[in-house]
Subunit: 480 residues, 2 copies
Amino acid sequence: MKNNTVLQLLEGKKLHQDIQISGWVKAYRSNRFIALNDGSTIHNIQCVVDFENTDEQILKQITTGAAIKVEGTLEESQGHGQKYEVVVKHIHILGAANPDEVKKTILQPKKHSLEKLREQAHLRVRTNTFGAVMRLRSQLSFAVHEYFRKNGFFYVNTPIITGSDAEGAGEMFKVTNYDLNNVPKNEEGRVDYKEDFFGKETNLTVSGQLEAETYALGLGKVYTFGPTFRAENSNTSRHLAEFWMIEPEVAFCDLDGNMDLAEDFIKYVLQYIVDHCQDDLEFLENRLLQEEKSKPEKDRSPMKLREKLDFVLANNFKRVSYTEAIDILKKSKPNKKKKFNYIIEEWGADLQSEHERYLVEKHFKCPVILFDYPADIKAFYMRLNEDEKTVRAMDILFPGIGEIVGGSQREERYDVLQSKMKELNIDQEELSWYLDTRKFGTCVHSGFGLGFERLVLFATGMTNIRDVIPYPRTPQNADF
Amino acid sequence: MKNNTVLQLLEGKKLHQDIQISGWVKAYRSNRFIALNDGSTIHNIQCVVDFENTDEQILKQITTGAAIKVEGTLEESQGHGQKYEVVVKHIHILGAANPDEVKKTILQPKKHSLEKLREQAHLRVRTNTFGAVMRLRSQLSFAVHEYFRKNGFFYVNTPIITGSDAEGAGEMFKVTNYDLNNVPKNEEGRVDYKEDFFGKETNLTVSGQLEAETYALGLGKVYTFGPTFRAENSNTSRHLAEFWMIEPEVAFCDLDGNMDLAEDFIKYVLQYIVDHCQDDLEFLENRLLQEEKSKPEKDRSPMKLREKLDFVLANNFKRVSYTEAIDILKKSKPNKKKKFNYIIEEWGADLQSEHERYLVEKHFKCPVILFDYPADIKAFYMRLNEDEKTVRAMDILFPGIGEIVGGSQREERYDVLQSKMKELNIDQEELSWYLDTRKFGTCVHSGFGLGFERLVLFATGMTNIRDVIPYPRTPQNADF
């Protein structure tokens, strides 16, 4: 007989039928009731053991963490707290879990700190919290692919190892096949890359955008969804050295179309989890309420998790130009009272996360799209406005998260792009392929990057980005 | 007005309506008929220009490769070869394409070799062949996610940068943040990793399996779909240094279930493209027929592309034990006549690609699943059979492709796994997290890896793996 999942059994369709289920023991009480979970849902199924007719050797091994296979029938539950339960006929111990050993791990059923769970990241997915987070992450991923497919986008796998560092600005990891104990050098004592695997210096990508542009200018609408890397020494709750990024790129689309796309996309994927993940969301909402009880009232979220999702879904993102934003910030209380670490004095200032949070959380109290930034604080490929001092850039800022999207209309004019690269000393030879796309049928096009883990943070109500990816990579940590 | 896509217009629903479309000129003939493509489909839409009422400066710029925006109405076509056409009211040149420059590129409308196209990989997606291949690749990707979602699997992003090299066997790329010109050394003259980004030696992953196992033993059914890497100096038409791999991992599933899953999965995704990609498949089928005309008859495919797909869909994969396969090979003509480069003499021999191809293409003439391999030629984590000399491994072999899937039931017994690791000198300390999964509720579980590009090769009829990924990474090549 094939295994059913807990999710299937809880639907009740198998009522009064013989069933088989395998999973892990979450709890065992009164020598009678097993709470069994197999990862398919946050909920357990209750299995009722006929302990008088079950071998004592087997009963002894029904302990938290053990893997068991149960055969029985699905029946309506007489007890409280569940609608259905399995009346057990046979129990097979698949893998025991020595209680003395379990006690040393996070599988021990008691409250563990998130820090402790991170140390045992190989076991944390068996906790309720991480089961819920990871199921939700998976559903969000699927929603991403479904959205783009429904809207005529093609998925493109841009390279992870790149020979270009145009965008990296020194924050790229190096990739080599050389023995680091003995790196070949040339006559000037510099690394001789000729014999290295790729015959030149190579790095891990920080963005697939430039390559995605070449594909958008052929397939029309494309997106990437893959790992990207930053060798940035930021040990914060919002940064990872390895994270997943979504980068759509659209031909014949200007900045307004780009903002429409980003907003529509974010709402689609959040609506998807509201529609498909109520059980996990409910659990995570309660988890967050518990966690916040220990915080001072002013640091607690103004809304519950699902209220926050509904709020984002129900409201338009506020679109504000950089220039307007600077005006608001200049006149703001924390600026006048010098409460900001960086006081906004004039147009042209780069916004810090404290400013972004003020705009989103205090001033507008909703997601904000800032656009038309000063050219000087943005990348070379962004389209210059007629004023010649701002570019068609946009960032989307989310409450509690900060920047979740960064995008722009791209500079499609060959001459303007070329002189910008010259100005910034960007090697035109190395990016000749990129310049080529402006030579042969160039057109208005736009795109953005969305850090997937920040979206998962927002959707799960978790507060540390290390807790929404299975095995986080951060400074001094590449465990597992 | 919003752009329509060529795909939308060819559906004909907008007949007699005002429409707008943007795309690239594929051809322009008789000063009148533009074949316009926007990447949404292999087909072009014909745009009929009223050349007498159009500015000559504009007409001049309608050349192959130029990007244009057309406003007009969709009408039934009077000419042959298309059902609908756009009667043009206005044409806007978005980006010209200088014909003298175009001539130097693969955008020039004539036959270019696949080698030449690879050199201009940033432009090749604008050719019919690569447009078709990349759309098909995208559809296959989506089918992968859809299959697993429908079957209750969760998507897991296992780490790309790993601190473990248990599986790598010296074929891993190193990742570092050190300046290679000046690698810090310790007192013994060896690399001192303490100050490196992760504080230890790190590599690019060759497989997410071990981490996926930890997740399957919590969530039940999981899969990865991400980039993996091999620093293997194989300059063949079947190897890439960077490729995408799909790795499902299933708790409570044995080798038979694993074979069922793999076969069902492959058939689902191939059926998906048969259902959704007929136009691109037709084009690619004809391309392959053309390509094969120049080959000697014996080297041509026995079936057309779509026949081959239908054949795989209609037939069961043949399941054959390694022991049976060795018997067949020993008695085979090429073995007796010493035509194989590696003559099969006895049980235990590792199969070479010539042997796999003989089994699939000559003997069985269908996809083959080989299982129960000798333990000595397989990995440490595969489950030992009762005979103590074979393991519960399986490989799926495809005609023209060779190995497309490698999988196994995993060794779930702590003691057996531990002694195997000891025997092979695998560091138990480093993999203590992996061993842990056998300590706390271990269970039968299985999984496999499928090289995505090999599947795309099979589905598109392309013959070089460099031609089914946007920017291939191979020895001495990390361009773009």
